[in-house]
């Protein structure tokens, strides 16, 4: 089916707000090329469960496209229109299964060696969109805080090697009451700037109190993770390959696991499920869970405040371990987790820098219960070091 043939009735299976959004922009959708419109519909179909920032972005995208004159419209969409699609893709049910279509389109683009053209077209499109409709600045500078190294007593790995060039490395931080001070600061920001899904706390282990915050933790999702792993195992045993498994994971809904899919909890439940079904390794390793959750929150919820706390993950079993069968219960790997988290902190900062207001954003990474930290902020001289004795409360207030 061609996008030009789209009819309102075809969106009957969409959730209410998504259906309304699609029908409101039906004329626009009809003008878009087939290599583009399902990608947009993939976002539209999930509109009811999107964070406020995501909804705003999607609406902005519709606005941008609708404001282009005919010449600009063709110019912007031409690289997508030039892509050669297969008859199979044209016949696909891309209106109601846009995610599945996207997977098939990706495979087709790789196979036909058009992936580089698609990539260039996408980069160009986003550039034009951002120039025409810049993201609004946040009401206060964003603040990202990452805690790494829980459970590590001694460390010889050179931490923060990728973040040091961007801020000040502090070597004499007083760790006393560090976690509590940081959490108090997080709650204070949430109270001062109350906005839905704007202040987040992610924990790779057991969550501390998260009153007044949006929060998720690895341990709180134990049961859901176990159910998802059971589902994965069943799918594997049915003999399907990784692609089909990914499709099945993408189709899972909170209702499949007895979670609410409507009301105030629906957005959070959907997000938690997506971290475990779309993230690779999030079901097994807590460090991956925290890194991926932080990435997705920054990309999707675009928070004003994010505190991500890494915890020790499971130790990878060697062949020797497997054959010895000596382990009765899972062992943890705090040292490896510290290195994972060190890289995870860097990725969290990179992802924060992709958001609006990046030049004013603040970032702190702290080796939990130890004296090392890096602070990044306009007031912090990039690539410098400080041996000044300083408490975490003072450090946060300096960058805030």
């Amino acid at each position: 089916m061609s996008p030009a043939d789209l009819q309102p009735a075809q969106f009957a299976g969409y959730p209410p707000k998504a259906r309304q959004l699609a029908i409101e922009h039906l004329d626009l959708l009809r003008r878009l090329p087939l290599s583009f419109v399902p990608l947009l519909l993939r976002e539209v179909i999930a509109y009811d469960w999107k964070f406020p920032a995501e909804r705003r972005e999607l609406e902005t995208q519709f606005l941008y496209l609708s404001e282009l004159d005919t010449g600009q419209f063709q110019q912007v969409l031409k690289p997508f229109a030039k892509l050669q699609l297969s008859a199979e893709l044209e016949r696909a049910n891309w209106v109601n299964e846009p995610t599945q279509f996207t997977e098939q389109l990706t495979a087709h683009l790789w196979t036909t060696r058009q992936i580089d053209q698609f990539r260039a077209a996408a980069v160009d499109y986003i550039h034009h969109l951002n120039v025409a409709k810049p993201q609004p600045s946040p009401p206060v500078p964003r603040l990202g805080i990452v805690l790494i190294g829980q459970g590590v007593s001694e460390n010889t790995y050179r931490l923060f090697r990728k973040l040091r060039p961007h801020g000040v490395y502090f070597s004499k931080v007083n760790p006393a009451d560090g976690r509590k001070m940081l959490m108090d600061g997080l709650v204070a920001r949430a109270t001062a700037h109350p906005m839905p899904f704007a202040h987040w706390y992610v924990d790779g282990g057991e969550s501390m109190s998260c009153e007044g915050l949006s929060c998720i933790s690895y341990q709180a999702l134990d049961s859901l993770r176990a159910q998802i792993v059971t589902n994965i195992t069943k799918v594997m045993e049915s003999g399907v390959g990784p692609e089909a498994l990914r499709t099945k994971l993408a189709r899972m809904t909170p209702e499949d696991f007895g979670m609410k899919n409507t009301g105030g909890d629906a957005v959070l439940n959907r997000f938690q499920l997506s971290v475990l079904t779309e993230g690779s390794g999030t079901q097994i390793y807590s460090t991956t869970f925290v890194q991926w959750a932080a990435r997705e929150l920054l990309r999707r919820a675009q928070p004003l405040t994010l505190l991500a706390r890494f915890a020790p993950r499971l130790r990878e079993q060697s062949i020797k371990d497997l054959l010895a069968q000596e382990r009765q219960r899972p062992l943890l790997d705090p040292q490896g987790s510290l290195r994972d988290a060190d890289m995870g902190a860097y990725y969290t900062w990179l992802n924060q820098q992709r958001l609006s207001g990046a030049d004013q954003s603040r970032f702190l990474v702290w080796f939990e219960d130890h004296s090392e930290a890096v602070a990044i902020a306009p007031s912090m001289k990039a690539g410098s070091e400080s041996s000044e004795a300083i408490g975490l409360k003072e450090l946060v207030s300096r960058i805030a």
Binding site: S280, Q291, K320, Q335
Partner: protein, 370 residues
């Protein structure tokens, strides 16, 4: 510091531009008795964790022991599909294959093993592949009508062998824990195709199931198992073409940076072990070319479409660009080649080295080698 500048400083290597005026080495006349060992990393490693300053600590053997003896191609650009089986098949055929990476299918085009065996009338025992996962079990021979059946390489999947051995020794519950494919956690498909059965392994490698499992008890990883099997093949069969695909690095898909780096360090050590094995084995010493190359890279940290080292899905320049190291008799030492080449150039180069034609391969022989 750019990639090229770093390489020159790190290795003190000859500027490669001066090489372009050299005539090819007289390799063809002396091809008889030559052997080739190809090691691919079936899980791309990025420059950041290998060649760049922060990564050098991860590859001491490659940098300090092998690089000074090698001609090093600094820009190997993979223009094909960035999936490990299809990419390795493309390297083995010299053509960018386009089949589904996760499908259990043979390559469409003739493999280097078929060219070699048919042209030089070599027996089946003279070309072997040691591959990491079930998906690779059909890489030894293509569906090409002119080649295919009867001309392929034997394929050994050590993890599959271990799983079979565990079954034989009553440890079958462990089988599912041997990661087969890191793209999806816990994915372990049923094996289909002409893999080497356990009893054939015992016969070919002169290795009993008990000895095999006993040795496995001292190993850390599947790649160590692969190199152990490769060394058994070298000792017992001494094939002229031995193709080893390492895969531990692909643990990166789980998002655990430390395990990814540990795997790079392990691959570095194993490459040195393979080189040392070549030098100390009379069947190989003095007549073997060793080629080492990752099949491709991984996504860059700064590409918003990816998640850094974890995957290779964006097709960005870093995920397409890797390197290749060639060592052995007649190969110029401590030389860095800056011009871009492609992994599909390997098969025609091996053809020129060993003296067989590679007519359907799309790559071009590397003039700096042959």
């Amino acid at each position: 510091m750019g990639r090229r500048e770093f390489l020159r400083l790190a290795t003190g290597a000859t500027a490669a531009k001066t090489l372009f005026c050299f005539a090819p080495l007289p390799a063809l006349a002396a091809s008889r008795g030559k052997k080739v060992v190809v090691v691919t990393f079936g899980g791309g490693a990025r420059d950041e964790e290998t060649l760049m300053p922060d990564g050098q600590e991860n590859i001491p053997h490659l940098l300090n022991e092998l690089m000074p003896r090698a001609t090093f191609f600094a820009q190997v650009i993979n223009k094909g599909i960035l999936g490990h089986y299809v990419a390795n098949a493309s390297i083995a055929t010299g053509v960018y294959e386009t089949f589904n990476n996760f499908a259990s299918v043979p390559p469409d085009y003739p493999t280097v093993f078929e060219y070699f065996r048919k042209d030089l009338k070599r027996p089946a025992s003279d070309a072997w592949v040691v591959a990491p996962s079930n998906g690779f079990n059909l890489i030894g021979q293509s569906k090409s009508r002119s080649y295919g059946p009867g001309f392929g390489a034997g394929v050994i999947l050590p993890k599959r062998l271990l799983a079979a051995a565990l079954n034989a020794t009553g440890l079958s519950k462990m089988e599912h824990l041997l990661h087969d494919n890191y793209e999806t956690p816990m994915y372990t498909p049923e094996l289909a195709g002409n893999d080497v059965e356990l009893h054939r392994m015992a016969e070919t490698l002169k290795l009993s199931v008990d000895n095999f499992t006993a040795h496995a008890r001292n190993l850390e990883s599947p790649d160590e198992l692969s190199v152990y099997i490769a060394r058994q093949l070298m000792r017992q069969v001494a094939p002229s073409i031995l193709w080893i695909t390492l895969h531990d690095i692909d643990i990166a898909h789980s998002g655990t940076f430390s395990l990814y780096v540990d795997a790079i360090q392990r691959s570095d050590r194993l490459c040195a072990e393979i080189w040392n094995a070549i030098q100390t084995d009379p069947e190989y010493a003095g007549k073997t070319t060793l080629v080492i190359l990752p099949d491709f890279g991984r996504d860059s940290d700064t590409d918003p479409g990816g998640n850094g080292f974890q995957h290779h899905r964006t097709g960005d320049p870093l995920s397409r660009t890797t390197w290749m190291m060639v060592l052995g008799p007649g190969i110029r030492e401590n030389v860095v080649i800056e011009r871009p080449v492609e992994p599909t150039d390997l098969v025609p180069t091996l053809g020129a080295l060993l003296g067989f034609s590679t007519q359907q391969a799309q790559g071009k022989p590397l003039t700096e080698i042959v």
